[in-house]
């Protein structure tokens, strides 16, 4: 996927990376095919990775750094408010970015990538008209944008901002697990979007909270329905997740949809050590 010499310790942003010809192309590369289909175990699933350097903070950071960031943010809210795609599809659009691009991209550049991909995949804009238009604006950045007002939908969007959009579902069936239950995150590697991060797969924890049922992203991202499930906040001891290298006296709380979980038996890693 990468040329020789690429190493994650050079990231992010320090190295200029090159994706190999014919693979993993940025959407802007009209000449090449898009990486089609679904991505599993993507670069976005970062928990526990090493070599990404220090956390870099910006003093007095503005909400947006440029007008194009403002526009990307608003376009996402607008198009999702129009229900042109859903949040799971939007996340999956980001997750399918070529890893080298993902790690070096500005944050709202990732959003742009997913916006373009979703709008093209839904047939709302064509790849060709987008590329042609992008070429025009690259040649003439001062070319004016058309203006359009829509006070009614703008009011709806502002209401969405103030009141929220997502609502939990109701199920006839009771939750499978209760607070205090020992559970294990299943070792699943589903083809496509999932919120089951790699670092909890196969690990045991204890249910700390039972939340309302929410839309299941693994199906909602792929046009297979909402299929709401109960969501559980599970406490994982750091020793269970990271073994001997774990820091002392630490736990991670991770939210998991019901089908990500199975009942667990037997002690967790810290308990085995206490007994042993």
């Amino acid at each position: 996927m990468f040329r020789k010499g690429w190493h994650p310790s050079l990231l992010p942003g320090l190295a200029i990376l090159t994706a190999a010809p014919g693979r993993c192309l940025y959407l802007g590369d009209l000449a090449g095919p898009l990486r089609k289909g679904r991505t599993m175990n993507g670069i976005h699933d970062l928990g526990g990775m090493h070599g990404l350097g220090p956390v870099v903070r910006e003093e007095n950071e503005p909400v947006f750094h440029a007008d194009w960031e403002r526009a990307v943010f608003a376009m996402m809210l607008y198009t999702m408010g129009k229900r042109l795609y859903n949040a799971a599809e939007f996340r999956h659009g980001i997750e399918r970015m070529p890893p080298a691009h993902y790690l070096t991209a500005r944050y709202y550049e990732r959003w742009l990538h997913s916006l373009e991909r979703n709008l093209v995949e839904k047939g709302i804009v064509s790849r060709e008209e987008l590329e042609e238009r992008a070429r025009q604006f690259l040649e003439d950045p001062a070319k004016p944008l058309p203006r359009r007002e829509d006070p009614e939908f703008t009011a709806f969007l502002l209401q969405l901002v103030r009141e929220g959009g997502q609502r939990s579902a109701r199920l006839e069936t009771p939750p499978r697990f209760q607070v205090g239950d020992r559970v294990r995150a299943r070792n699943l590697h589903p083809p496509g979007h999932t919120r089951l991060a790699r670092y909890v797969r196969g690990r045991q924890g204890t249910v700390a909270h039972v939340y309302d049922p929410w839309t299941f992203p693994d199906t909602h991202a792929h046009g297979q329905g909402r299929n709401p499930q109960y969501v559980y906040c599970v406490r994982f001891e750091a020793r269970e997740l990271w073994g001997e290298s774990a820091e002392p006296n630490q736990a991670v709380y991770f939210d998991l949809w019901e089908s990500y979980l199975e009942p667990a038996e037997g002690p967790t890693a810290p308990e085995r050590e206490e007994k042993g």
Partner: protein, 215 residues
Amino acid sequence: MSERGTGSGQPAPRRYPLPEEEIAARVRALESLLIEKGLLSSDAIDRVVSAYERDIGPLLGARVVARAWVDPEFRQRLLADATAACRELGIGGLQGEHMVCVENTPTVHNVVVCTLCSCYPWPVLGLPPNWYKSPAYRARIVIEPRRVLREDFGLDIPDSVEIRVWDSSAETRYFVLPERPPGTEGWTEEELASLVTREALIGVARVTVPEAARR
């Protein structure tokens, strides 16, 4: 290395990061197409952006924290149902439909992350800063939180204090109720709110009293 054309019939390789002019041109392209198709309006861009640049930010979360410090019953309601408690103060909305507030104590320190993307409680904190969304923070805070807090944020958490990392992996959005700093007895809610930072609400800082404000 040239950007275009390898002469092999293969598509040209890409160099990352992409130039900012190219990104800006792509954004304007999409904007103009959506406006022409009736799927975007200029007034919506201005108004939505303005809401997050001017109105919705960490000052709102600071108000929630200050209220919890001065009103023990509100604090109870906040810890039991943060969404409802924030609504009492007129605070709520997108990406805060289900909020949970976790309390720091002398024996427990909480810190929030989203390892898979950038989930964050917008109604109390506004839009997240870049460091929160950075691969480095998302990768490291779950595996070495004590070290990240000490080395990257200058926050020393002794081993005797348990660190709880909340990975916002589903629909719940977490934020931290920090400890009230000593020496603030008798302060008004407004004065207390002015001490509370975004970093404290994420759990990467304590709330402290600046030298100039000490009494």
